[in-house]
């Protein structure tokens, strides 16, 4: 039953998050919900950037595409199911497009290419005013039955995204992604179709990001382009790195630091980014594998450790 334990752990964490969310005051509940929605988005990023080791800086754009697609669907009278489907599919298609263009590039070139795409999406959201009302943003019709539903749907979504990455990590696609991260040439040698593997990883990342976009649109009630610009994509990458790239719980821990710390301290956004930067630098120096990587390193030193 060893294979089931990680899922039990994720379920416990999810329940704890839910209990915390419904018991704290409105301010902290808001912070926690932001952290959990970011956990969904960064779990998505954890597929291509964590398992696959590809520095995708475009997750914020998928998040935004999901948010706008679901909002527009609801505005045009569709129900939440259709809106969610549209969010996931449109973000997935964007991922497919980026993948087809950039999946054959590596390292910093892939990073730059995805960053560029993030800028393009932000520009479109800002300037296609006929569709998005530009910087004014959109009022998002509420698609759930009651506000209380969000209280369990948000933690459940976060838990589900963690479980999904856990399942992917032990699947064939997950193993292939890890070889791409470890040594792409060697992976080719043993028959891993690396380009297709990266493409699949990026599309899955994008779809999960799109789902997170639907959540934030529902939670906020209004959306505007600055929530999804290239800075967001970059900070999401930082969150994954801080939490521990490729570790299942990394996105939760990373989001807690990167979103939670500035929010709890109620810092203005510029100062908040500065704090995020300092956290990132300290983590990279002290625990290069991220916080969950540090936890693993400590566990390995404990007596009786079995991997």
């Amino acid at each position: 039953m060893k294979g089931a334990w990680p899922y039990v752990g994720i379920a416990v964490v999810t329940l704890a998050m839910w209990a915390l969310l419904v018991s704290v005051n409105a301010f902290y509940a808001g912070v926690l919900a932001s952290i959990l929605i970011w956990t969904v988005a960064t779990s998505g990023l954890n597929v291509i950037a964590g398992l696959g080791g590809y520095p995708s800086l475009v997750q914020g754009a998928f998040y935004g595409i999901g948010a706008y697609a679901s909002a527009l669907a609801l505005i045009h009278g569709q129900n939440l199911w259709v809106a969610t489907l549209l969010a996931v599919v449109s973000a997935g298609l964007a991922g497919l497009l980026i993948g087809l263009v950039f999946a054959r590039t590596r390292g910093q070139y892939f990073g730059m290419g995805t960053l560029f795409f993030g800028v393009v999406v932000a520009l479109v959201l800002t300037n296609w005013t006929g569709l998005t009302q530009g910087p004014l943003g959109l009022m998002v019709p509420f698609g759930f039955a009651t506000n209380d539903q969000l209280d369990w749907i948000v933690p459940l979504s976060a838990g589900a995204s963690l479980a999904l990455v856990q399942a992917l990590g032990t699947s064939r696609l997950g193993l292939r992604l890890v070889t791409v991260r470890a040594d792409e040439d060697l992976a080719e040698h043993i028959g891993v179709p690396t380009a297709r593997t990266k493409l699949a990883g990026l599309v899955i990342s994008a779809m999960i990001g799109g789902f997170a976009g639907m959540l934030i649109a529902q939670y906020n009630g209004t959306i505007s382009p600055d929530l999804f610009d290239q800075t967001v994509g970059f900070v999401m990458f930082v969150a994954v790195a801080v939490g521990g790239a490729g570790r299942v719980l990394g996105p939760l821990v990373g989001s807690a630091f990167i979103v939670g710390v500035p929010d709890v301290l109620n810092l203005p956004s510029g100062i908040g980014l500065l704090v995020v930067g300092v956290i990132f630098v300290v983590i990279v120096i002290v625990v290069p594998d991220g916080l969950m990587g540090g936890v693993d390193a400590i566990r390995r030193r404990l007596p009786g450790f079995r991997a």
Partner: protein, 237 residues
């Protein structure tokens, strides 16, 4: 009909010819050696077969079907599997994950079943399956590397210098394993500098010298041949 047929294959890196009109064949279930010194083009030959370097001229045929220009992943599907020079495991991944990766073309259930047969053959691997591959000794890593190549369930196993850098004891273990592989009917194309190992493992062989086939015949006869001495000692005659 030969399982693998290579006819007049040339490979060049820029202006430098690495292989010049190389022709050789391997029958189903047969073990064939390619002998030669460093820089003779042995590794390039294997890389060309696996679709890792583009061939300039010539044809590669597997079971009568042209495979020149095919992707490596497709070639693995068709029954080719390479155990590269210097082991080349993923050092930061567990032994089990390394082995499973060899079967990355198959469904995960099929891969698990193949893993079970590898563990049956090497119970010590099962015991240490969670150890990181990088922590294994060179000889153990070579066994894992060959195991990984076998996880693809190949019809033809391509081996690039499996004895290089190993102790005589470790080479003995590799030889034992390759003997078992032969008994299962898997064909072997063995590229080696170690002529003794090649002579034991293979019946037929070729001598590769500066990118061309200098001699061919029974491996045991080749070992004492002038062509091989020339290939190793670098005479110009």
């Amino acid at each position: 009909m030969a399982l693998l047929d290579i006819a007049g294959v040339s490979v060049r890196f820029g202006n430098v010819p690495a292989l010049r009109g190389v022709s050789l064949s391997v029958d189903a279930g047969e073990a064939v050696a390619v002998l030669g010194a460093n820089g003779a083009g042995k590794t390039t030959l294997l890389r060309a077969i696996m679709g890792r370097v583009p061939i300039d001229t010539g044809t590669l045929t597997l079971d009568g079907a042209a495979i020149g220009g095919m992707r490596t992943s497709g070639l693995v599907d068709r029954g080719l599997s390479l155990c590269p020079e210097g082991r080349q495991l993923f050092p930061a991944m567990s032994v089990e994950d390394n082995l499973l990766l060899g079967a990355n073309r198959a469904a995960i259930r099929v891969a698990r079943a193949r893993l079970a047969t590898i563990y049956e053959r090497f119970p010590w691997l099962r015991e240490r399956r969670r150890v990181l591959a990088g922590a294994f000794s060179g000889g153990e890593q070579q066994i894992v590397a060959i195991g990984r190549a076998l996880m693809a369930a190949p019809r033809l196993l391509l081996l690039d210098e499996p004895s290089s850098g190993l102790s005589p004891v470790a080479i003995g273990r590799v030889r034992e394993l390759l003997g078992q592989v032969r008994e299962t009917g898997t064909a072997i194309l063995l590229v080696e500098q170690n002529v003794q190992l090649a002579a034991v493992m293979t019946g037929r062989g070729y001598v590769l010298n500066r990118g061309t086939i200098a001699a061919s015949g029974e491996t045991a006869a080749l070992v004492d041949s002038e062509a091989l001495a020339d290939a190793y000692l670098g005479g110009t005659a």
